[in-house]
C-alpha cells in the first residue's frame, strides 16, 4: 500500500514538474513572439532612420566625404552636432579598409582588414549606452581618376652632358631634350636627375653604380664617354660600352636609346680631334657599339633595317590613353632592330611598342636580359621624345589614383552610434 500510494504521488509530482516548464515556456514564447511591437523598437527604428538620414544628407551635400577624407574631424563633430537633435548622444567612428600580406603556410595571401581611424562623440559618460548604430560607406570626395600618379621611387638619370655633343637630335641639344623629358617624367618618378657633364656621368653611374636605375641617353646616337675611358686621346670605347652593358645586367639598369642606331658614336668635346660629320668631339664606333652592348663583343655588323611607316601596338596605345600623352600612332622607322639577333644574344622582347609589320625588325621595343633592360627607339630623327616616355610608362605602369578601380581600398566606413540622452530608448 505504502509503496503504491507513494508511486502515485510521485507521478503527480512529476506531472506537475513537467507541466510547469511547458506552460511557462509557452507563455514566455508567446509573449516574445507576439506581433505587437514594443515601444522600444519603435523608438529604435526612429533613431536608426535619424542616424542614416543624417549621414545621407551630409553626404549628399558633400560635407561628409570632404570632412572625413580631409581628416577634419573637428568640423565633422561640429556638423554632426548641428544636424542631430540636442537630445541625441552620438559616437561616430571612422574605419578604413586595408589590405595586408599575410603568410599562410608557404603562401602569402592578401587579407582585408578594417582599421579604426578615429572616433568623435558628444557622450562624456562611461560604458556604451548606444541604442542603435548604422554603417555608412564613404567614398572619397572625388571618386575619380587623377592624372597625378603614385610616383615611383626608382631613379631616372637623364644623360645630357654639356661637354659632349649628340647626333640625330637636331633641333635639340642634349640639355634642352633633358629638360623637355624631365617635364614629362617628374609626374611619375620621384628622382629624376640630369647628368650635366661627363665627370658627373662617371661619378653617378660608374664609380658606385646605382641599382634599378633608368638611364636615358639624351645624346641620340652618341653616348658621352667620361675622361676615365680615354687614354692617349683615344677612346677606350669597347671597355666603356662593356661597362654600360655590365651595369645594365648586374645592377638591373634600364638603358634607353631615344633615336637611331644605338651606341653608334661616343662623344666628348674635350677631344677636339674627334670629328664625325663635322661635329667636334664625336667619335664614330659604328655598328660595333651596339654589338658590344648586346653581345659583349665586336663584329656583329649592321643589325637594323628601314621598315618605313609603322603603327603603334595596343600596349602603347593603352599607355598613351592612360597617361594622356597623345601623339600620332604612325611613325617612320629607319632603324628597326633585328629581333632574332637580340634574342639569340639573351635579350628577350618584353614589350613591343610599334608593330614590326612582320619583318622581324622591331621599331620600338623593350628588351630584357636577366634584370637588365634596353629600350630601343629605332625611329627617324628628329626624335619624338614622347615615344621613349610612353615606352617607359608602358613598362613601369606608374599607378594612377584610379580610385574606383579599387573601390574597396578607397572606401571608408563610418559607424554612427546613437542614443537618446537620459534614456527613452
Amino acid at each position: 500500500m505504502w509503496s503504491g500510494r507513494c508511486k502515485g504521488g510521485w507521478l503527480r509530482i512529476l506531472e506537475v514538474l513537467l507541466a510547469i516548464p511547458i506552460v511557462a515556456f509557452f507563455i514566455l514564447a508567446a509573449a516574445n513572439l507576439s506581433p505587437f511591437t514594443s515601444p522600444r523598437e519603435y523608438s529604435s527604428l526612429h533613431l536608426r532612420n535619424l542616424a542614416l538620414s543624417t549621414l545621407s544628407k551630409m553626404d549628399e551635400r558633400g560635407v561628409l566625404t570632404n570632412l572625413v577624407w580631409s581628416g577634419d574631424y573637428f568640423n565633422l563633430k561640429a556638423e554632426l552636432e548641428t544636424v542631430l537633435p540636442p537630445n541625441i548622444a552620438y559616437n561616430l567612428t571612422v574605419y578604413h579598409l586595408t589590405s595586408l600580406n599575410v603568410s599562410q603556410g608557404k603562401e602569402k595571401i592578401l587579407e582585408k582588414k578594417l582599421v579604426r581611424e578615429v572616433s568623435v562623440s558628444n557622450f562624456k559618460g562611461e560604458g556604451s549606452p548606444w541604442t542603435e548604430s548604422v554603417n555608412y560607406y564613404v567614398s572619397p570626395s572625388e571618386v575619380s581618376y587623377y592624372v597625378q600618379a603614385e610616383k615611383s621611387n626608382s631613379s631616372i638619370y637623364l644623360v645630357a652632358c654639356s661637354d659632349a655633343p649628340g647626333w640625330w637630335i637636331t633641333g635639340y641639344v642634349p640639355q634642352t631634350m633633358a629638360k623637355s623629358l624631365k617635364e614629362y617624367l617628374v609626374n611619375y618618378y620621384v628622382n629624376v636627375t640630369i647628368i650635366n657633364d661627363t665627370s658627373q656621368l662617371y661619378s653617378y653611374l660608374f664609380e658606385d653604380p646605382p641599382v634599378n636605375a633608368t638611364v636615358i641617353n639624351c645624346h641620340g646616337e652618341a653616348v658621352p664617354i667620361p675622361d676615365q675611358y680615354v687614354s692617349g686621346g683615344n677612346p677606350n670605347w669597347i671597355q666603356y660600352i662593356r661597362d654600360i652593358r655590365g651595369n645594365t645586367l648586374n645592377y638591373n639598369w634600364t638603358w634607353v636609346s631615344i633615336v637611331g642606331y644605338p651606341f653608334y658614336y661616343v662623344s666628348n668635346r674635350n677631344y677636339e680631334n674627334w670629328k664625325a660629320w663635322g661635329v667636334t668631339g664625336l667619335y664614330r664606333v659604328a655598328t660595333d657599339g651596339l654589338s658590344v652592348f648586346a653581345t659583349n663583343e665586336k663584329g656583329s655588323g649592321w643589325r637594323t633595317r628601314d621598315i618605313g611607316i609603322v603603327y603603334m601596338t595596343t600596349v602603347a596605345l593603352e599607355a598613351m590613353n592612360t597617361y594622356g600623352i597623345q601623339f600620332s600612332p604612325y611613325q617612320s622607322s629607319s632603324r628597326a632592330l633585328e629581333r632574332q639577333w637580340m634574342v639569340s644574344n639573351g635579350w628577350d622582347v618584353e614589350l613591343l611598342l610599334f608593330d614590326d609589320k612582320g619583318t622581324g625588325y622591331l621599331p620600338v621595343a623593350v628588351f630584357r636580359n636577366g634584370g637588365g633592360r634596353f629600350i630601343h627607339t629605332g625611329l627617324v630623327r628628329t626624335p619624338e621624345i614622347r615615344v621613349p616616355v610612353i615606352s617607359l610608362l608602358a613598362l613601369t605602369q606608374p599607378t594612377l589614383h584610379e580610385i574606383l578601380m579599387n573601390l574597396e581600398q578607397a572606401m571608408k566606413i563610418i559607424v554612427l552610434e546613437v542614443s537618446y540622452i537620459g534614456g527613452g530608448g
Binding site: R48, V134, G278, Q326, T382, L407
Partner: protein, 659 residues
C-alpha cells in the same frame, strides 16, 4: 490493483506527453505565424527605410563615381572610347562591391543602358544613346556631363522584388555648366545637376579658369574668387585675366568645374570663331597654305596675317583635335589637318593624334582660296565625334614617293646630295633644285629622311636633316634642316631651310646656298615687270636690291618656255637673305643661268672673309622660306599674279565669336 494503479500513472504520464506535444505544436504554429507577420510588418518598414536606402545610396555613389571617372579619364586622355571603357569597368567594380555588401539580404542587381535626352533650348540634339551610358558635351558655353542607367534590384531575404532606380526618362546624373558671360576679370556661370537643381555649395577650388597667356605662349590656369552666388545656381566669379577680348566683348577662356561627386565639365566661352577675310589678290592661283597656331594667329610662309584694329585672334582651345572643324561661307567644309611640331615649332613631328588636346606645339593647316571671304574655325561639342577627312586633290605614292596634286608633282630625287624635282603634273618637264649647300660642299641625306605627313587633306610634308661628309669645312657643329610642304589645290610647294649653329665652337660660313636651281633661268622678272639684274663683273648677276623701299625682287621666274617654275618669297623672307651677309641675296649664274638663293655669298671674296661666329655656347637658328611654283606656258600675267599673291596676302578684317 497494483497493476491497475501503475497503468493509471502511465496513462497520466502519456497524457502529459500528449499535452506537451500539442502545446509545442501550437508554439511552433505561433512562431511561424509570428515570423511571417514580422516579414510583413517589420520588413516593410525597417528594411525599406534602411536597407533599400543603403542599397540605393550605394548604387548612386557608384554611378556618380563612374561618371566622375569617365569625365576625368576623358579630360586626361582625350579619348572618349577609352574613358567609357574605364568608367564601365569602374561601374562594374563598384556594383560588385555593393553586391558583396548586401549578400546577406539576398541581393539581385541588374542594370541596363537607356536612351535619354540632354537637350536644352540651344542644343536640341543632345542625348545619351542606349549603349553609351556615359556622355559629355563639352567646350561650348553651355556644357554637360551625364550618365543614363536604369537599375532593378531584389532583396529576396526580406521579400523585396523589382525595386527600380532610374532617372525616369532623364539622365541618372548630370552636371551642367553654362557660361552666361565672359568678360575681362569676370565670369558669370550657372551650375546645376539632374532635375535642373541648382548647385549652390561649390567652393572656389571647384572652379578652374584656363586661359591662353599670349606672353608665355601657353595655356595657364587659375582659381577664381567667388564674389556672389544666387539661389538659381548662378555664380559670379572674379579672375585676373584682362584680355584680349573678341570684338571688344567676349573673353575666350575655358572653365573647368568639378562638383562634389568628382564629375567634371569643361566649358569654353565661345564655340568657334568667324573670320571675315579681305582678299587683296583674287584669282585661281591665290591660294594660301595657312597655318593656325594655338594663339589663333594665321600664318603664311612664316608671317602672321594682319588683323584689323579692334579685333584679335582668339586662341584655339585645348580640345581633342578630332572635335575641330573648319568651314567657309561658299564651300562648306574646308579640308584641314592638325600637325605636331617640336615645342619651338622648328621641326615637324607628324600628324597629331586625334585625341591630342590642341597645344602650342600644334598647327592647324588649311588652304585658303580667294573665294573664301567668311571662314569659321569651330568645334563640335560631342566628345565622341570623329574627324572625317575631306579628301583633296593631294596624293602620295608610297612606292615612288612622288607627291602630286592637280598641278604639280614633286619628290626628292637624290639624297647624295639632296635634290628636289618639281614638275608640272603628268608631264616630263621638270626643274631640279639642290638644297643646303654650305661652304662649297654639297649636302647628303644619308641618315634618314621622312615623308612625315602623308595622304592627308591639307598638305604633305618631307623632312630631312642634311649631312656633310667629313663635316662642313670651317663650320663644325653646324646642322641644316630642310622641310618641304606639298599643299593640296595649289600650284606651288613651299620650302624651309634652317641653319642651326651650335656655337660651342667657333665657325666661319663663307658661302651658303639655301637653294640652287639646275635648269637655266633665261628670263627674269621683277615687280611691275621691271627686270632688276645687277651685272656682276665676273659674269654673275646679282638679283637683288635691298635699297628700294618695299623691296622689289621677292620673286624670280623662268616663264618664256612652255613650262616653267618660279621662286617667290615674302618680303620678310627676303630680308632674311641679308641677315648674315649684306652681299647675300638672289644670284643668277649667267653662264648657266642657275638660280642661287644665297644668304652668304663670298664667291668672289677671299675665303678668309665670310661670316664668323665665336664660340659662346649658344644655339642659333636661321630660317629661310619661300615657295616654288609651276605654270604652263609663258603667261607673264600669271607670274604677276603670284607676285601679288605673296606681296599682298589677305587681311583678317573681323574676328567674331561664335556662341
Amino acid at each position: 490493483m497494483r497493476i491497475c494503479r501503475s497503468s493509471k500513472g502511465q496513462m497520466y504520464l502519456l497524457g502529459v506527453v500528449l499535452i506537451s506535444l500539442i502545446l509545442l505544436s501550437s508554439l511552433l504554429f505561433l512562431y511561424m505565424n509570428a515570423l511571417s507577420q514580422r516579414k510583413a510588418y517589420y520588413g516593410s518598414i525597417e528594411n525599406f527605410v534602411s536597407v533599400v536606402q543603403s542599397v540605393k545610396g550605394d548604387i548612386e555613389k557608384v554611378v556618380a563615381g563612374a561618371l566622375a571617372t569617365y569625365t576625368s579619364v576623358l579630360e586626361t586622355s582625350g579619348n572618349s572610347t577609352f574613358a567609357r571603357v574605364r568608367a564601365k569597368e569602374a561601374l562594374d567594380e563598384g556594383l560588385k562591391l555593393v553586391y558583396s555588401s548586401f549578400t546577406g539580404y539576398g541581393i539581385e542587381l541588374r542594370y541596363e543602358s537607356v536612351n535619354c535626352s540632354l537637350a536644352d533650348e540651344h542644343q536640341s540634339y543632345r542625348e545619351i544613346k542606349k549603349g553609351e551610358v556615359f556622355k559629355a558635351y563639352w567646350y561650348y558655353p553651355d556644357s554637360v556631363s551625364g550618365v543614363s542607367l536604369k537599375f532593378r534590384f531584389n532583396l529576396t531575404r526580406i521579400g523585396l522584388y523589382n525595386y527600380r532606380v532610374s532617372g525616369h526618362g532623364k539622365a541618372y546624373f548630370i552636371l551642367k555648366v553654362a557660361i552666361l558671360e565672359s568678360k575681362p576679370e569676370k565670369l558669370k556661370v550657372s551650375v546645376s545637376r539632374e532635375g535642373d537643381i541648382p548647385i549652390l555649395d561649390l567652393d572656389e577650388e571647384r572652379f578652374e579658369v584656363i586661359y591662353f597667356d599670349n606672353s608665355a605662349g601657353k595655356w595657364k590656369s587659375e582659381t577664381p574668387r567667388i564674389t556672389r552666388i544666387y539661389s538659381n545656381g548662378t555664380y559670379i566669379l572674379k579672375h585676373s585675366i584682362e584680355g584680349p577680348t573678341l570684338n571688344g566683348e567676349v573673353l575666350p577662356l575655358m572653365l573647368r568645374v568639378r562638383d562634389h561627386r568628382g564629375v567634371i565639365v569643361n566649358s569654353f566661352s565661345v564655340s568657334g570663331y568667324n573670320y571675315t577675310v579681305n582678299h587683296k589678290t583674287v584669282g585661281e592661283h591665290a591660294k594660301y597654305e595657312v597655318e593656325v597656331l594655338s594663339d589663333g594667329a594665321w600664318r603664311f610662309l612664316g608671317q602672321t596675317l594682319v588683323v584689323n584694329s579692334g579685333f584679335n585672334y582668339g586662341p584655339i582651345p585645348p580640345i581633342p583635335v578630332r572635335m575641330l572643324r573648319v568651314n567657309s561661307s561658299n564651300g562648306g567644309k574646308v579640308p584641314f589637318q592638325v600637325e605636331d611640331w617640336d615645342s619651338n615649332l622648328v621641326f615637324p613631328l607628324g600628324l597629331s593624334s586625334p585625341h591630342n588636346h590642341f597645344q602650342p606645339f600644334n598647327k592647324l593647316v588649311f588652304i585658303l582660296n580667294s573665294s573664301m571671304t567668311n571662314l569659321w574655325i569651330w568645334w563640335v561639342d560631342d566628345v565622341d565625334s570623329e574627324l572625317k577627312l575631306v579628301k583633296t586633290d593631294l596624293y602620295y605614292n608610297s612606292n615612288t614617293r612622288w607627291h602630286k596634286n592637280t598641278y604639280y608633282e614633286g619628290k626628292i630625287t637624290s639624297t647624295h646630295p639632296v635634290r628636289f624635282t618639281l614638275k608640272r603634273a603628268s608631264t616630263a618637264n621638270n626643274d631640279l633644285f639642290e638644297l643646303g649647300k654650305i661652304n662649297f660642299e654639297s649636302s647628303a641625306g644619308w641618315g634618314s629622311w621622312t615623308d612625315t605627313v602623308v595622304n592627308n587633306s591639307a598638305r604633305n610634308m618631307f623632312v630631312v636633316e642634311l649631312e656633310y661628309k667629313g663635316g662642313i669645312d670651317e663650320a663644325p657643329d653646324t646642322y641644316v634642316l630642310v622641310t618641304i610642304t606639298f599643299p593640296g589645290y595649289t600650284k606651288y610647294v613651299t620650302f624651309t631651310v634652317k641653319l642651326i649653329l651650335n656655337r660651342v665652337t667657333a665657325k666661319k660660313i663663307t658661302d651658303f646656298e639655301v637653294l640652287r636651281s639646275f635648269k637655266g633661268y633665261p628670263d627674269f622678272a621683277a615687280q611691275n615687270g621691271t627686270e632688276i639684274v645687277t651685272s656682276h663683273p665676273n659674269g654673275y648677276s646679282k638679283f637683288y636690291n635691298d635699297t628700294v623701299t618695299g623691296g622689289i625682287h621677292h620673286w624670280v621666274a623662268r616663264y618664256s618656255e612652255t613650262f616653267g617654275t618660279g621662286l617667290m618669297m615674302t618680303l620678310k623672307n627676303l630680308e632674311e637673305l641679308y641677315c648674315l651677309d649684306q652681299s647675300g641675296g638672289i644670284t643668277v649664274l649667267k653662264s648657266s643661268n642657275h638660280l642661287l638663293l644665297k644668304p652668304v655669298d663670298n664667291v668672289y671674296q677671299p675665303k678668309t672673309t665670310g661670316v664668323t661666329f665665336n664660340a659662346n655656347n649658344e644655339v642659333e637658328i636661321y630660317t629661310w622660306s619661300g615657295l616654288l611654283w609651276v605654270y604652263n606656258g609663258g603667261s607673264y600675267m600669271e607670274i604677276e599674279g603670284y607676285s601679288e599673291m605673296v606681296s599682298n596676302p589677305p587681311e583678317i578684317t573681323a574676328v567674331q565669336p561664335v556662341s
